[in-house]
């Protein structure tokens, strides 16, 4: 028997104060099993003890929101009797330690969150951030991590049979020791068939289904709640191993059992495994759960109660069925070849009671594990800045310099084609993908509901590092802009908040600023946040990642047709820049600083400094409305929003369709040419429009007081930009080759 010493308490990641709180609440010293149970539920990962106070500032209500935060996933009404469940979650720490399995189980976990509510998963997206592939010291390791993470996502999603339809992949030095893997999933179901993770009906059976329990993943949640150090390698055994085939069977069996109407409540065993599912189901149901571990299917011999309760073995679910019909549950799971065992019953006393062969090994009130978990108001100062406010004055550039910069930018790590990644994902299975990966927003049709759903993930760590509040707002603005390009109305959002150590006041300040910025923007754009995840302690040897809030927004399109493409389709079409050349830049004294946040600064100048681009949210929203109406009336032939790389990169990318249609552009600007071409002012969207539709486009833009100047015309084969009299030419084929081949070359090292 291990005695609980100060050392044991510290090993469990608990402070002395937290331990005293435990003793006070239960009126005695906890057993080791109880200490394990409490410590894992009180970990940052499960309890949100540092973030909860601030997450309350986020908007969560909306007309279409059926279920908000607090459940396994948020749910929105998509019309015609159907609903969509969606959420994003991080699996950062496991994918750094064991990239393939870490990423695979990240996808597995988020898929379970969706189908545990009754929805069949129809789409996955991933937001990935790594250290640079050519980093002199960490390059080899980073390439290994990218290969592993992408392989793991592909392995899990492809076998499970869910299309991976989009996402992002960004490289910054700040992710060298701590990459980010944020996985998003969305599923569909009839809106009157939502299942919740609540245990109801005293005496009802508590049934364990799915994979057997092993020793993998013990203390995974605690690992995700600590910084990395030299010994993190030794945590590899903490990473779970995924089996997508088993999960596919679990999905089919769960949906079949749900259809039979014999399941009352269901919750997946994710972080903190059996512990979390039993106490949360009891907590939500206002009941208790008593289990005996001797019934838990086990993969290994001699597991202790402590290990069984804390295991994070994958592909397991806990469900509560009506007493008397449990045989029907067992029959469905048997059909799919899965274990289904009654391991306990629902009680009326609000306790989580765990026995092992009858002997009581843990008895803890649910409330202590959930609502009464510690809540901290961590001190915050001013946000930590890892980069200077002022940078070099960018020299005036010639037309040739600009042409060279454009080629360099399209082949740079963040802007180049991610085809080598997304072709490893089955992005078409289920035959719904009407806009495949590589566009501004991904779109799937929903055959059951006769609508389409557009979705995008956005985050910009560089912007957020320079100003957490503004950076967070810019991410929401860009995400909504992405949806507007396909004519979708944004409905609701999910967020994944990746930050460093919240016990450092400067990091806590980043977190608070970013959350408040997200809240402001989500209110403004009408996208309530229905759930998500917070990942803190993303630090290695004391160095924090860029603060990186990632936002995923789902939008609704009222038809199932293929949306307007992003690429130019025909020569001789007018090119319209909705939003104007550089909105909000004239008169901005901080322009040079703001330019320091651009990809041009990062890639061409080789430095990052200053402030993010200025955002006027009212203006931005009117741009979205303008574009949405134009698209819905079928006026443009192509639509692409401007973001990283600015106007020049946006124009080049419009040319990367199969026909390689370029453009001839004529501009005059009061700003230096590199600013006009590469500054990343938001609120801008490029359209190509046939002559007969120009008038209608202008009328819509004018009605919303948004400038929509014609800046040129599409043409075959080359991009030609005349700016203040100087002209540069670039072959679209050349740019395309550079853009398309860059990632493969970089991955080879």
């Amino acid at each position: 028997m291990i005695t609980i010493t100060a050392e044991v308490i510290a090993q469990h990641g608990l402070t002395t104060g937290e331990y005293e709180r435990i003793v006070e609440k239960i009126g005695r010293e906890p057993t080791l099993t109880e200490l394990g149970i409490i410590s894992v539920m009180w970990s940052e990962h499960c309890s949100y003890k540092s973030s909860r106070k601030h997450l309350k500032k986020l908007p969560t209500d909306g007309d279409r929101v059926l279920v908000g935060p607090g459940e396994n996933a948020g749910i929105i009404d998509i019309g015609n009797g159907y609903a969509a469940a969606f959420k994003i979650e991080s699996h950062n720490h496991p994918s750094f330690i064991e990239p393939f399995q870490g990423a695979a189980t990240g996808v597995g976990g988020i898929l379970r969150d969706i189908f545990t509510m009754g929805a069949r998963p129809l789409a996955v997206m991933d937001s990935l951030r790594f250290g640079p592939l050519d980093d002199p010291e960490a390059g080899n390791r980073n390439r290994h991590i990218v290969g592993g993470v992408v392989g793991g996502i592909a392995h899990y999603g492809n076998c499970f049979g869910v299309p991976t339809i989009g996402g992002e992949c960004i490289f910054e030095s700040s992710y060298n020791g701590n990459n980010l893997v944020n996985a998003f999933a969305l599923g569909i179901f009839p809106k009157d068939k939502i299942f919740f993770g609540a245990a109801s009906g005293i005496g009802n059976p508590v049934i364990y289904v799915g994979a057997k329990t092993g020793r993998d993943g013990i203390h995974g949640a605690s690992m995700a709640s600590a910084e990395f150090d030299e010994e993190s390698e030794g945590k590899r055994p903490n990473v779970q191993v995924g089996d997508p085939f088993l999960e596919k069977l679990l999905l089919e069996a769960c949906i079949e059992a749900m259809d039979k109407g014999v399941i009352l409540g269901i919750q997946d065993m994710g972080a903190a495994g059996l512990t979390c599912s039993t106490c949360e189901m009891g907590g939500r149901g206002g009941t208790g759960i008593e289990i005996d571990l001797k019934y838990v299917p086990q993969r290994e011999q001699g597991m202790t109660p402590y290990e069984i309760m804390l295991s994070e073995s994958q592909e397991r679910m806990l469900l509560v069925a009506e007493r008397g019909v449990e045989d029907q549950v067992f029959a469905v799971f048997k059909k799919w070849g899965l274990d289904a065992v009654e391991i306990g019953t629902v009680t009326d006393d609000g306790m989580l009671r765990v026995r092992n062969h009858g002997e009581l090994v843990a008895e803890v009130p649910n409330s202590l594990l959930t609502d009464d978990a510690p809540l901290y108001d961590r001190p915050a100062t001013t946000p930590f800045r890892s980069v200077p406010l002022d940078g070099p004055t960018a020299p005036t550039t010639s037309a040739d310099d600009n042409a060279a910069a454009l080629k360099q930018l399209v082949a740079s790590p963040d802007l180049c084609s991610k085809r080598k990644i997304y072709e490893q994902y089955d992005y078409m299975v289920r035959t719904n993908t009407t806009v495949p990966p590589g566009s501004d927003a991904a779109v799937i049709r929903i055959k059951e509901a006769n609508v389409s759903l557009a979705m995008a993930l956005d985050g910009n760590g560089r912007y957020t590092a320079l100003d957490p509040r503004e950076g967070a707002k810019l991410a929401v603005a860009e995400c909504c802009r992405n949806l507007a390009t396909v004519g979708a109305e944004p409905v609701a959002a999910t967020n994944c908040l990746n930050f460093g150590n919240p016990e450092k006041p400067e990091i806590m300040a980043q977190f608070i600023e970013a959350v408040e910025g997200l809240g402001e923007a989500c209110r403004h754009f009408g996208t309530p946040i229905t759930g998500g995840n917070v990942s803190l302690y993303n630090e290695t040897l004391g160095a924090a990642i860029y603060p990186t809030p990632v936002i995923g927004i789902v939008g609704l399109i009222d038809h199932m047709d293929v949306p307007v493409p992003m690429h130019f389709q025909q020569p001789g079409r007018k090119i319209i820049l909705v939003g104007g050349l550089l909105p909000g830049v004239t008169g901005d004294k901080n322009l040079e600083r703001r330019f320091g946040s651009t990809q041009y600064a990062k890639v061409v100048v080789g430095q990052t400094w200053g402030l993010p681009p200025a955002l006027d949210m009212d203006y931005e929203k009117r741009v979205h409305e303008t574009v949405r109406s134009i698209v819905r009336q079928g006026l443009p032939e192509s639509v692409h929003d401007l973001s990283d790389g600015g106007l020049a990169v946006g124009l080049a990318k419009c040319g990367f369709g199969s026909k390689r249609i370029g453009a001839r552009i004529e501009l005059s600007s009061e700003f230096p040419s590199h600013v006009a071409l590469f500054h990343e002012a938001p609120s801008r969207v490029l359209l190509s429009v046939a002559d007969e539709n120009i008038e209608a486009v202008n009328a819509i833009a004018a009605a919303l007081a948004i400038p929509a100047p014609v800046i040129g015309e599409t043409q075959v084969g080359s991009l030609e930009v005349q700016l203040n009299g100087d002209t540069f030419h670039a072959s679209i084929d050349d740019l395309y080759q550079a853009w398309d081949s860059a990632l493969e070359r970089m991955l080879q090292g």
Partner: protein
């Protein structure tokens, strides 16, 4: 929506644990081709009443050991064998092709892609022979745009088998470029002789790695895959 009205036949789509293109095949057959299509559970041994059998893509039994290696032992496969031996039309797509090869209904083997990665993209297929129930509605040399999505789709067969396949015009589809040339660059997985689909000696069993069911609906970008099913329907009409 079906663009053309076809006579309706009864297609059986076999459902293995781990199949994941089962719904897609059912949808294409019903909605895009106006056929009557139903699932057949892998434990079923009765295929009576079906006009044609489709083995869909996915990861049957998790593809543990080797793709398709476990599915060959399932009860439904002995029924499929009997169905094929009596001349019934059987088509195996992706994992279905792997299963047909494992059961010996088709020759050769499907191994890890050259490059070792899973590949999902739309490729060009050239119709090599219209003398089959699966290609008779195509024109010889016609180039079809059809998606692939597999990790183990590199077709391999020994010299002798290959020469028999070629001699008897049993290679029905080859990977080609947009001009219809079977170049190494157009070969997405390293298959020998760019082979994408073959039929058996009796020409009533087809295995192909590309997914015609993903190219049956206009919103998916191509409807070329319909020609495979249309050809089967034409064959069934003739009886």
């Amino acid at each position: 929506m079906a663009l053309v009205d076809f006579p309706s036949f009864r297609f059986g789509v076999v459902l293995f644990p781990g199949s994941n293109c089962d719904h897609d095949a059912l949808y294409a057959l019903r909605e895009n081709l106006g056929q009557s299509a139903e699932f057949i559970w892998h434990e079923s041994e009765d295929l009576s009443g079906f006009d044609a059998i489709l083995l869909p893509g996915g990861f049957s039994y998790g593809d543990y050991l080797r793709a398709g290696a476990i599915a060959r032992f399932s009860p439904v496969l002995s029924a499929v064998k009997r169905f094929a031996e009596s001349g019934g039309l059987v088509v195996g797509i992706c994992n279905g092709f792997q299963i047909l090869v494992e059961t010996g209904l088709l020759p050769g083997a499907l191994v890890r892609n050259r490059g070792l990665h899973f590949v999902c993209r739309t490729v060009n297929l050239r119709v090599e022979s219209t003398e089959s129930p699966f290609t008779q509605d195509c024109t010889a040399g016609q180039v079809l745009a059809v998606p692939i999505a597999h990790g183990e789709g590199c077709y391999y067969a020994d010299e002798e088998t290959l020469s028999v396949l070629e001699r008897d015009n049993r290679v029905l589809f080859r990977y080609v470029d947009e001009h219809g040339k079977a170049t190494p660059e157009a070969n997405p997985n390293g298959s020998v002789s760019n082979i994408a689909g073959i039929c058996n000696e009796g020409r009533n069993v087809l295995g192909m790695m590309p997914h015609p069911e993903r190219a049956a609906d206009p919103v998916m970008g191509s409807t070329d895959g319909r020609l495979v099913f249309q050809s089967m329907i034409s064959t069934l009409v003739r009886g």
